[in-house]
């Protein structure tokens, strides 16, 4: 099962390596990981996507909680939540394909943010599976470069992961 775990941690040097090190040391998977400061400069928020059965996920959350730099965490997959990821994809856009890619991008509600005679950069946000679909929709030989941020997530409703 795919789980999306949100972590509030001390904004300290080395905190990220503690999390990453834990995953390698204990043999857990990291699908994606994104981290940035929050409105409180002393805290970072990390969103981590991992895959494992119920027992593995239980161990992952317990082991993460045990890290001294981790202040609080929540497994967003346990409740209703919103997940977003941002992607920038550079594609070959020549002759007839220019129109086709523009149409595809519109259907996925992407934005073309860079244009040359031969290429576009499309910016797109959505959950990870939507971005996967867009990548699949573009003919493979047209893709020049794909950059994705990794997922970040937030729960629905007034409840929040704060201190």
């Amino acid at each position: 099962m795919r789980h999306i775990i949100s972590i509030l941690m001390e904004n300290e040097a080395g905190a990220l390596s503690r999390v990453a090190g834990l995953f390698t040391a204990r043999g857990y998977n990291i699908e994606s990981l994104s981290v940035a400061p929050t409105e409180d400069a002393t805290l970072s928020r990390m969103t981590l996507v991992t895959i494992g059965d119920e027992r593995v996920i239980e161990q992952i959350t317990k082991q993460l909680n045990k890290l001294v730099d981790v202040v609080k965490l929540v497994d967003l997959s346990e409740g209703v939540h919103i997940e977003r990821e941002m992607m920038m994809i550079k594609v070959r856009a020549e002759m007839g394909m220019r129109e086709e890619i523009k149409r595809l991008s519109d259907i996925f509600r992407g934005k073309i943010i860079d244009v040359t005679d031969t290429s576009y950069v499309v910016e797109m946000t959505g959950d990870s599976s939507k971005l996967d679909s867009f990548v699949r929709a573009i003919p493979e030989e047209l893709i020049i470069e794909v950059v994705r941020t990794g997922a970040s997530g937030i729960s629905r409703g007034p409840k929040a992961l704060t201190l």
Binding site: Q59, K62, V68, D69
Partner: protein
């Protein structure tokens, strides 16, 4: 008061009540060593290798419950300390390790004796700190001791760049009396509802077993455990780390469990219907094959670390809290509700256990010719009346000591259970002796293990530590040889310790007393003489049977009921 960083390090140790620091000087910690030189409250013990410093601090912590303190320099000082840090981490021992670091401006430049200490130690510490500003030093020291010594204890590294300890830069000093960390708040009390459920399950049990581990020793809950066992009348088995938490000579103690546990303990584990795990972590050497572990049991698990619960074995009633506090709650509930165990069922259960005990799995052949290692430990127990602080290295001698030296008190059996670190015994014994100058402290070891930290004999001489070193010398890495005999058709690949020194002369060259015993008949008198030399370190080279193996034995990955007994007993017994 205005102090330099170096003075702050020493003053905060004083304020923390630290009496001994085990260390070795070097470039990055010279400012701190200069501050140590100028005071007398904190006593520095100079070891001969940084690994020795960590094991000594570890032994000190295990014997007292107070955090052990280590001071080493950057680079090789820190890397040499890593084995000892990992040893303490695996056994949850509180320790604060201060490492020097190259000056801040040089960090990352591959400077002389620079190593990424934070990175190297990260997977084997409870937490670590790099102190970048002298203003943060006192608070960091406080946090380090707080983290090391609360919750599930463990080692904490404080890495201090040399410029932070500069004697010319002074800042106001005040040692914080308390520390509060929003990201760290270990649990104290267990959930009462869970504890009640556990007590009810226990009182309904037909074939209960209490399985207790190192957490009871570390959590100072030996008295509470003993009361619970005696009040319920349940059988108790201890892990290697839990020996001494319940009196080893008491009838309700069915011995150690696991790979080299007793027949009765492992069979009871296999047949139990309610297992009460207390401060134990279901290590693979205890559980054997997980799929065949306690197949009939509902399991209660009391532990301070939530991550220990359901890590290896699925738990039915988890209780997260300090073992001492949870056991007190259990005892109170038992008394208040006047609950009684099922006496008839318990009676039948004990009869079953006695029939397993009658197998006498720890019997060994007697010999007048050659010293059996089991006989050596038996004799040691008799001569010392079971009263030793006994440290151990790793291998056959460790298992023989665990099996034949019954400990009646906690914090007396000091060994590297989790990491299995050869070389641990001698320096750990130094730490124990420093903590308890008047106690009789011995180290049981093998000729392979002792050579790994033999240089610490010089430390023992310098500080007049009258240890008794009992070397069970069989000329082999015994446990390696045993596995090669059993699983590799006797191909003894590199397990023979060729070109051994003369240990008597070796001990004497360090200024100690050396003795050799090679006849079973001389053993008791030899030990008596050695222990009568109260002020001298005596190194006793006991020449033992080179072919003896440790039994009973469960092969790695097998179930508890599939034990090998010694060849003298039923060659192999399998009860399903």
């Amino acid at each position: 008061m205005e102090l330099s960083g170096a003075q702050i390090v020493v003053q905060s140790l004083k304020d923390e009540g630290v009496e001994h620091v085990f260390g070795y000087p070097g470039g990055s910690v010279l400012h701190i060593y200069d501050a140590i030189f100028q005071q007398e409250d904190v006593r520095h013990v100079l070891v001969r290798h940084e690994q020795g410093a960590t094991h000594a601090a570890d032994g000190y912590a295990r014997a007292t419950g107070k955090p052990g303190v280590v001071l080493v320099t950057s680079g090789p000082g820190a890397t040499n300390a890593v084995t000892g840090i990992a040893t303490a981490y695996m056994d949850s021992i509180p320790m604060v390790v201060i490492t020097g670091q190259v000056p801040s401006p040089l960090i990352g430049s591959d400077a002389f004796q620079e190593v990424d200490t934070i990175g190297i130690t990260r997977p084997c510490v409870k937490h670590n700190f790099l102190v970048k500003r002298v203003e943060d030093l006192a608070e960091t020291m406080k946090k380090a001791f707080h983290i090391a010594n609360t919750g599930r204890p463990g080692p904490v590294v404080v890495d201090i760049p040399k410029d932070v300890t500069d004697p010319n830069i002074k800042v106001p000093y005040e040692y914080p009396s308390k520390v509060k960390m929003r990201s760290y708040s270990p649990v104290e009390k267990g959930h009462l509802g869970q504890i009640k459920k556990a007590v009810e399950l226990m009182m309904g049990a037909k074939r209960p077993v209490i399985y207790s581990g190192g957490g009871v020793v570390i959590g100072d809950a030996s008295a509470e455990l003993t009361e619970l066992v005696q009040k319920t009348g349940f059988p108790i088995t201890n892990t290697l780390m839990g020996l001494g938490a319940y009196p080893g000579t008491d009838k309700q103690n069915i011995g150690m469990l696991g790979m080299h546990g007793t027949y009765e303990a492992n069979m009871a584990m296999h047949e139990t219907d309610v297992l009460v795990a207390i401060g134990a972590r279901f290590d693979d050497r205890v559980t054997g094959k997980i799929a065949e572990f306690c197949p009939h049991a509902q399991i209660i698990h009391i532990d301070v670390d939530p991550a220990s619960i359901s890590k290896n074995v699925r738990i039915d009633i988890p209780i997260v809290g300090q073992v001492k506090s949870v056991l007190n709650d259990m005892l109170r509930i038992l008394t208040e509700r006047e609950m009684q165990a099922d006496a008839d069922a318990l009676d039948a259960w004990w009869k079953q256990i006695e029939s397993w005990r009658a197998v006498k799995c720890l019997e060994y052949p007697k010999s007048d010719e050659v010293i059996k290692p089991q006989f050596a430990v038996d004799t040691l127990h008799k001569v010392t009346d079971g009263g030793l602080y006994l440290t151990s290295d790793v291998g056959q001698h460790q298992m023989f000591a665990a099996q034949y030296y019954a400990f009646d008190k906690p914090r007396r059996w000091i060994n590297s259970g989790g990491l299995g670190t050869m070389g641990f015994g001698l320096p750990a014994a130094m730490g124990v002796q420093m903590a308890h100058p008047d106690a009789t402290v011995a180290c049981i070891t093998g000729e392979a293990s002792i050579l790994m930290c033999i240089q610490e004999l010089a430390t023992c001489k310098q500080y007049n530590l009258p240890l008794k070193i009992i070397l069970l010398n069989n000329g082999y890495m015994g446990m390696v040889r045993q596995w090669q005999e059993m699983f590799y058709e006797g191909r003894y690949s590199h397990s023979y310790v060729d070109a051994l020194p003369d240990f008597v002369e070796l001990a004497e060259s360090f200024g100690h007393v050396g003795m050799r015993i090679d006849k079973p008949g001389d053993l008791a008198a030899g030990f008596e003489e050695a222990f009568s030399r109260k002020d001298e370190l005596v190194f006793i080279d006991v020449v033992v049977d080179p072919s003896e193996n440790v039994y009973p034995m469960i092969e790695a990955g097998k179930g508890h009921h599939k034990m090998h007994l010694s060849p003298q007993q039923a060659s192999e017994r399998e009860l399903a």
